[in-house]
Protein backbone atom coordinates (compact mmCIF):
# COMPACT_ATOMS: atom_id res chain seq x y z
CA UNK A 1 0.00 0.00 0.00
CA UNK A 2 1.44 3.34 -1.08
CA UNK A 3 1.56 6.52 0.99
CA UNK A 4 -0.78 7.98 -1.64
CA UNK A 5 -3.42 5.36 -0.75
CA UNK A 6 -2.94 5.96 2.98
CA UNK A 7 -3.37 9.71 2.48
CA UNK A 8 -6.33 9.41 0.11
CA UNK A 9 -8.26 7.04 2.39
CA UNK A 10 -7.64 9.37 5.34
CA UNK A 11 -8.76 12.39 3.31
CA UNK A 12 -12.01 10.70 2.22
CA UNK A 13 -12.80 9.58 5.79
CA UNK A 14 -12.10 13.10 7.07
CA UNK A 15 -14.24 14.72 4.37
CA UNK A 16 -17.21 12.44 5.13
CA UNK A 17 -16.97 13.32 8.82
CA UNK A 18 -16.58 17.11 8.60
CA UNK A 19 -18.72 18.01 5.57
CA UNK A 20 -22.06 18.20 7.39
CA UNK A 21 -20.78 19.95 10.56
CA UNK A 22 -18.90 22.59 8.55
CA UNK A 23 -21.67 23.12 5.98
CA UNK A 24 -24.39 23.32 8.62
CA UNK A 25 -22.39 25.52 11.09
CA UNK A 26 -24.14 25.68 14.43
CA UNK A 27 -27.55 26.04 12.81
CA UNK A 28 -28.16 22.35 13.03
CA UNK A 29 -30.73 20.70 10.84
CA UNK A 30 -34.24 21.83 9.95
CA UNK A 31 -36.54 20.31 12.56
CA UNK A 32 -38.39 18.20 9.99
CA UNK A 33 -35.17 16.54 8.85
CA UNK A 34 -34.06 16.12 12.44
CA UNK A 35 -37.28 14.21 13.21
CA UNK A 36 -36.69 12.02 10.17
CA UNK A 37 -33.11 11.34 11.28
CA UNK A 38 -34.33 10.48 14.75
CA UNK A 39 -36.87 8.05 13.32
CA UNK A 40 -34.12 6.51 11.16
CA UNK A 41 -31.93 5.59 14.15
CA UNK A 42 -33.80 2.39 15.22
CA UNK A 43 -33.75 0.78 11.75
CA UNK A 44 -30.10 1.78 11.27
CA UNK A 45 -29.10 0.26 14.63
CA UNK A 46 -31.13 -2.87 13.83
CA UNK A 47 -29.41 -3.13 10.45
CA UNK A 48 -25.95 -2.76 12.06
CA UNK A 49 -26.75 -5.60 14.49
CA UNK A 50 -28.29 -7.82 11.82
CA UNK A 51 -25.42 -7.43 9.34
CA UNK A 52 -22.91 -8.35 12.05
CA UNK A 53 -24.85 -11.33 13.38
CA UNK A 54 -26.60 -12.79 10.35
CA UNK A 55 -24.21 -12.33 7.44
CA UNK A 56 -20.68 -13.52 6.83
CA UNK A 57 -18.59 -12.34 3.86
CA UNK A 58 -21.65 -11.41 1.82
CA UNK A 59 -23.73 -14.51 2.59
CA UNK A 60 -26.56 -15.10 5.07
CA UNK A 61 -25.17 -17.03 8.05
CA UNK A 62 -25.74 -17.12 11.81
CA UNK A 63 -22.69 -15.76 13.63
CA UNK A 64 -21.35 -17.43 16.77
CA UNK A 65 -22.00 -14.14 18.60
CA UNK A 66 -25.79 -14.35 18.11
CA UNK A 67 -26.47 -16.34 21.30
CA UNK A 68 -24.31 -14.00 23.38
CA UNK A 69 -25.98 -10.90 21.97
CA UNK A 70 -29.46 -12.39 22.57
CA UNK A 71 -28.51 -13.13 26.19
CA UNK A 72 -27.23 -9.56 26.55
CA UNK A 73 -30.60 -8.23 25.35
CA UNK A 74 -32.44 -10.27 27.99
CA UNK A 75 -30.08 -9.03 30.72
CA UNK A 76 -30.38 -5.44 29.51
CA UNK A 77 -34.19 -5.52 29.47
CA UNK A 78 -34.17 -6.91 33.02
CA UNK A 79 -31.48 -4.68 34.57
CA UNK A 80 -30.81 -1.75 32.16
CA UNK A 81 -27.07 -2.05 32.79
CA UNK A 82 -24.80 -1.72 29.73
CA UNK A 83 -21.76 -3.14 31.51
CA UNK A 84 -23.67 -6.19 32.72
CA UNK A 85 -25.19 -6.73 29.27
CA UNK A 86 -21.87 -6.47 27.41
CA UNK A 87 -20.11 -8.76 29.89
CA UNK A 88 -22.91 -11.29 29.37
CA UNK A 89 -22.48 -11.02 25.59
CA UNK A 90 -18.75 -11.76 25.82
CA UNK A 91 -19.08 -14.63 28.33
CA UNK A 92 -21.93 -16.42 26.53
CA UNK A 93 -20.17 -16.01 23.17
CA UNK A 94 -16.94 -17.45 24.59
CA UNK A 95 -18.89 -20.39 26.08
CA UNK A 96 -20.67 -21.10 22.78
CA UNK A 97 -17.30 -21.24 21.02
CA UNK A 98 -15.98 -23.72 23.57
CA UNK A 99 -18.85 -26.13 22.86
Amino acid sequence: MSWLTVGAVAAVCFALRVTAPIALRERGLPSGLERRLDAAVPPLLAALVAVQLFTDRGRAAVDSRAAGVAAAAVVYLARRSLVLALTTAALVTALVRLL
Partner: protein, 219 residues
Protein backbone atom coordinates in the same frame (compact mmCIF):
# COMPACT_ATOMS: atom_id res chain seq x y z
CA UNK B 1 -28.26 19.14 37.88
CA UNK B 2 -25.95 20.91 35.45
CA UNK B 3 -23.08 18.70 34.36
CA UNK B 4 -19.82 20.52 33.58
CA UNK B 5 -18.12 19.73 30.25
CA UNK B 6 -15.08 18.29 32.01
CA UNK B 7 -17.21 15.76 33.88
CA UNK B 8 -19.01 14.87 30.68
CA UNK B 9 -15.76 14.19 28.79
CA UNK B 10 -14.84 11.87 31.66
CA UNK B 11 -18.28 10.28 31.32
CA UNK B 12 -17.62 9.70 27.63
CA UNK B 13 -14.26 8.11 28.46
CA UNK B 14 -15.86 5.87 31.09
CA UNK B 15 -18.74 4.83 28.82
CA UNK B 16 -16.30 4.00 26.03
CA UNK B 17 -13.88 1.91 28.08
CA UNK B 18 -15.73 -1.42 27.60
CA UNK B 19 -15.47 -0.89 23.85
CA UNK B 20 -11.87 0.32 23.97
CA UNK B 21 -10.72 -3.23 24.68
CA UNK B 22 -12.57 -4.43 21.59
CA UNK B 23 -11.22 -1.49 19.55
CA UNK B 24 -7.69 -2.33 20.68
CA UNK B 25 -8.06 -5.98 19.65
CA UNK B 26 -9.65 -4.98 16.33
CA UNK B 27 -6.66 -2.68 15.85
CA UNK B 28 -4.33 -5.60 16.56
CA UNK B 29 -6.18 -7.64 13.93
CA UNK B 30 -5.81 -4.82 11.39
CA UNK B 31 -2.10 -4.48 12.18
CA UNK B 32 -1.48 -8.22 11.87
CA UNK B 33 -3.31 -8.47 8.53
CA UNK B 34 -1.65 -5.30 7.17
CA UNK B 35 1.80 -6.60 8.08
CA UNK B 36 0.85 -9.97 6.55
CA UNK B 37 0.25 -8.44 3.11
CA UNK B 38 3.39 -6.34 3.27
CA UNK B 39 2.09 -2.96 4.39
CA UNK B 40 4.86 -1.13 6.27
CA UNK B 41 4.44 -0.68 10.02
CA UNK B 42 4.51 3.13 9.88
CA UNK B 43 1.94 3.25 7.07
CA UNK B 44 -0.47 0.97 8.94
CA UNK B 45 -0.15 3.01 12.15
CA UNK B 46 -0.53 6.37 10.37
CA UNK B 47 -3.56 5.02 8.54
CA UNK B 48 -5.28 4.05 11.81
CA UNK B 49 -4.48 7.43 13.38
CA UNK B 50 -5.79 9.43 10.39
CA UNK B 51 -8.49 7.38 8.62
CA UNK B 52 -9.73 6.02 11.99
CA UNK B 53 -12.27 3.67 10.46
CA UNK B 54 -12.10 -0.10 10.86
CA UNK B 55 -14.56 -0.86 8.08
CA UNK B 56 -12.82 1.46 5.60
CA UNK B 57 -9.34 0.23 6.50
CA UNK B 58 -10.16 -3.48 6.34
CA UNK B 59 -11.85 -2.86 2.99
CA UNK B 60 -8.74 -1.00 1.78
CA UNK B 61 -6.56 -3.97 2.72
CA UNK B 62 -8.87 -6.33 0.84
CA UNK B 63 -8.76 -4.23 -2.34
CA UNK B 64 -4.99 -3.62 -2.11
CA UNK B 65 -4.34 -7.33 -1.58
CA UNK B 66 -6.40 -8.10 -4.70
CA UNK B 67 -4.32 -5.47 -6.53
CA UNK B 68 -7.35 -3.24 -7.05
CA UNK B 69 -7.00 0.39 -8.12
CA UNK B 70 -6.93 3.43 -5.87
CA UNK B 71 -10.35 4.36 -7.29
CA UNK B 72 -11.75 0.99 -6.16
CA UNK B 73 -10.31 1.55 -2.67
CA UNK B 74 -11.90 4.99 -2.41
CA UNK B 75 -15.27 3.82 -3.78
CA UNK B 76 -15.39 1.15 -1.07
CA UNK B 77 -14.45 3.71 1.59
CA UNK B 78 -17.20 6.11 0.48
CA UNK B 79 -19.84 3.34 0.41
CA UNK B 80 -18.83 2.07 3.85
CA UNK B 81 -18.60 5.48 5.50
CA UNK B 82 -21.29 7.57 3.79
CA UNK B 83 -23.27 7.17 7.02
CA UNK B 84 -20.78 9.61 8.60
CA UNK B 85 -22.44 12.36 6.55
CA UNK B 86 -25.63 11.62 8.48
CA UNK B 87 -23.85 11.19 11.81
CA UNK B 88 -22.14 14.55 11.23
CA UNK B 89 -25.44 16.24 10.40
CA UNK B 90 -27.13 14.84 13.49
CA UNK B 91 -24.43 16.17 15.87
CA UNK B 92 -23.71 19.43 13.98
CA UNK B 93 -25.71 21.66 16.31
CA UNK B 94 -23.83 20.36 19.38
CA UNK B 95 -20.25 20.93 18.14
CA UNK B 96 -17.99 23.93 18.98
CA UNK B 97 -18.41 27.14 16.97
CA UNK B 98 -14.74 27.48 15.99
CA UNK B 99 -14.33 25.75 12.56
CA UNK B 100 -11.02 24.08 13.46
CA UNK B 101 -12.48 22.71 16.69
CA UNK B 102 -15.60 21.59 14.85
CA UNK B 103 -13.46 19.70 12.35
CA UNK B 104 -11.38 18.11 15.12
CA UNK B 105 -14.50 17.05 17.03
CA UNK B 106 -16.10 15.65 13.87
CA UNK B 107 -12.94 13.61 13.25
CA UNK B 108 -13.75 11.72 16.49
CA UNK B 109 -17.08 10.48 15.10
CA UNK B 110 -17.38 6.70 15.11
CA UNK B 111 -20.44 4.43 15.24
CA UNK B 112 -19.77 4.05 18.95
CA UNK B 113 -19.02 7.67 19.92
CA UNK B 114 -21.96 8.90 17.86
CA UNK B 115 -24.35 6.43 19.48
CA UNK B 116 -23.08 7.19 23.00
CA UNK B 117 -23.41 10.95 22.42
CA UNK B 118 -27.11 10.44 21.62
CA UNK B 119 -27.96 8.59 24.82
CA UNK B 120 -29.24 11.66 26.71
CA UNK B 121 -32.06 14.05 25.88
CA UNK B 122 -29.84 15.96 23.47
CA UNK B 123 -26.52 15.32 21.71
CA UNK B 124 -23.53 15.61 24.07
CA UNK B 125 -20.36 17.06 22.52
CA UNK B 126 -18.32 16.15 25.59
CA UNK B 127 -19.33 12.48 25.46
CA UNK B 128 -18.62 12.39 21.72
CA UNK B 129 -15.11 13.79 22.33
CA UNK B 130 -14.35 11.58 25.35
CA UNK B 131 -15.58 8.37 23.75
CA UNK B 132 -14.02 9.17 20.36
CA UNK B 133 -10.62 9.96 21.87
CA UNK B 134 -10.54 6.70 23.84
CA UNK B 135 -11.49 4.78 20.72
CA UNK B 136 -8.84 6.52 18.58
CA UNK B 137 -6.13 5.77 21.16
CA UNK B 138 -7.17 2.12 21.48
CA UNK B 139 -7.51 1.56 17.72
CA UNK B 140 -4.15 3.19 16.88
CA UNK B 141 -2.39 1.54 19.82
CA UNK B 142 -3.80 -1.84 18.83
CA UNK B 143 -2.61 -1.35 15.25
CA UNK B 144 0.91 -0.57 16.51
CA UNK B 145 0.86 -3.70 18.68
CA UNK B 146 -0.41 -5.76 15.74
CA UNK B 147 2.21 -4.70 13.21
CA UNK B 148 5.04 -4.94 15.75
CA UNK B 149 4.15 -8.19 17.51
CA UNK B 150 2.30 -9.84 14.64
CA UNK B 151 1.06 -13.32 15.27
CA UNK B 152 2.24 -13.48 18.91
CA UNK B 153 -1.02 -11.90 20.12
CA UNK B 154 -4.32 -13.73 19.85
CA UNK B 155 -7.58 -12.23 18.64
CA UNK B 156 -10.63 -10.90 20.46
CA UNK B 157 -12.61 -13.99 19.42
CA UNK B 158 -11.31 -16.36 22.09
CA UNK B 159 -12.77 -14.32 24.97
CA UNK B 160 -15.94 -13.27 23.15
CA UNK B 161 -15.04 -9.58 23.19
CA UNK B 162 -16.06 -9.19 19.56
CA UNK B 163 -19.68 -9.73 20.69
CA UNK B 164 -19.62 -6.46 22.68
CA UNK B 165 -20.15 -4.19 19.67
CA UNK B 166 -23.33 -5.80 18.25
CA UNK B 167 -24.63 -6.21 21.84
CA UNK B 168 -24.04 -2.51 22.42
CA UNK B 169 -25.97 -1.52 19.30
CA UNK B 170 -28.81 -3.84 20.33
CA UNK B 171 -29.01 -2.27 23.83
CA UNK B 172 -29.18 1.21 22.29
CA UNK B 173 -31.90 -0.06 20.00
CA UNK B 174 -33.89 -1.47 22.96
CA UNK B 175 -33.79 2.00 24.57
CA UNK B 176 -35.49 3.44 21.49
CA UNK B 177 -38.21 0.86 20.84
CA UNK B 178 -40.88 2.97 22.52
CA UNK B 179 -43.65 2.43 19.98
CA UNK B 180 -45.02 -0.45 17.96
CA UNK B 181 -44.09 1.50 14.84
CA UNK B 182 -40.44 1.73 15.92
CA UNK B 183 -40.34 -2.05 16.47
CA UNK B 184 -41.83 -2.77 13.05
CA UNK B 185 -39.47 -0.36 11.28
CA UNK B 186 -36.44 -1.76 13.12
CA UNK B 187 -37.33 -5.36 12.23
CA UNK B 188 -37.91 -4.32 8.62
CA UNK B 189 -34.53 -2.52 8.56
CA UNK B 190 -32.72 -5.57 9.92
CA UNK B 191 -34.44 -7.88 7.44
CA UNK B 192 -33.72 -5.62 4.50
CA UNK B 193 -30.04 -5.30 5.43
CA UNK B 194 -29.58 -9.08 5.64
CA UNK B 195 -31.54 -9.66 2.43
CA UNK B 196 -29.50 -7.08 0.50
CA UNK B 197 -26.10 -8.29 1.71
CA UNK B 198 -25.55 -11.11 -0.84
CA UNK B 199 -26.49 -8.84 -3.77
CA UNK B 200 -24.60 -5.64 -2.91
CA UNK B 201 -21.08 -4.51 -1.93
CA UNK B 202 -20.34 -4.15 1.81
CA UNK B 203 -21.80 -0.97 3.28
CA UNK B 204 -24.56 -0.58 0.70
CA UNK B 205 -27.27 -2.43 2.73
CA UNK B 206 -26.82 0.06 5.59
CA UNK B 207 -27.08 2.97 3.15
CA UNK B 208 -30.26 1.58 1.61
CA UNK B 209 -31.85 1.09 5.05
CA UNK B 210 -30.85 4.61 6.04
CA UNK B 211 -32.21 6.15 2.82
CA UNK B 212 -35.44 4.16 3.11
CA UNK B 213 -35.98 5.19 6.72
CA UNK B 214 -35.33 8.86 5.92
CA UNK B 215 -37.76 8.74 3.01
CA UNK B 216 -40.38 7.06 5.18
CA UNK B 217 -40.13 9.82 7.79
CA UNK B 218 -41.65 9.77 11.26
CA UNK B 219 -45.37 9.53 10.64
Amino acid sequence: MEVTPRESVATGVRLALPFAAADFLDGVAFGVIAAGIGVGALRAIVMSATAFSGSAQFASLTVVRDEGSLAAVLAAVVALNARYLVFGASVASALSRNPLRRAAEAQLLTDMSWALSLRGDRVSRAILVGAGAVSLAAWTGGTAAGVIFGGVLGGSRAIGLDAALPAFFLCLLLDRLSSRRAVIVAVAGAGAAVALTPATPAGVPLLVVLAGALALGSR
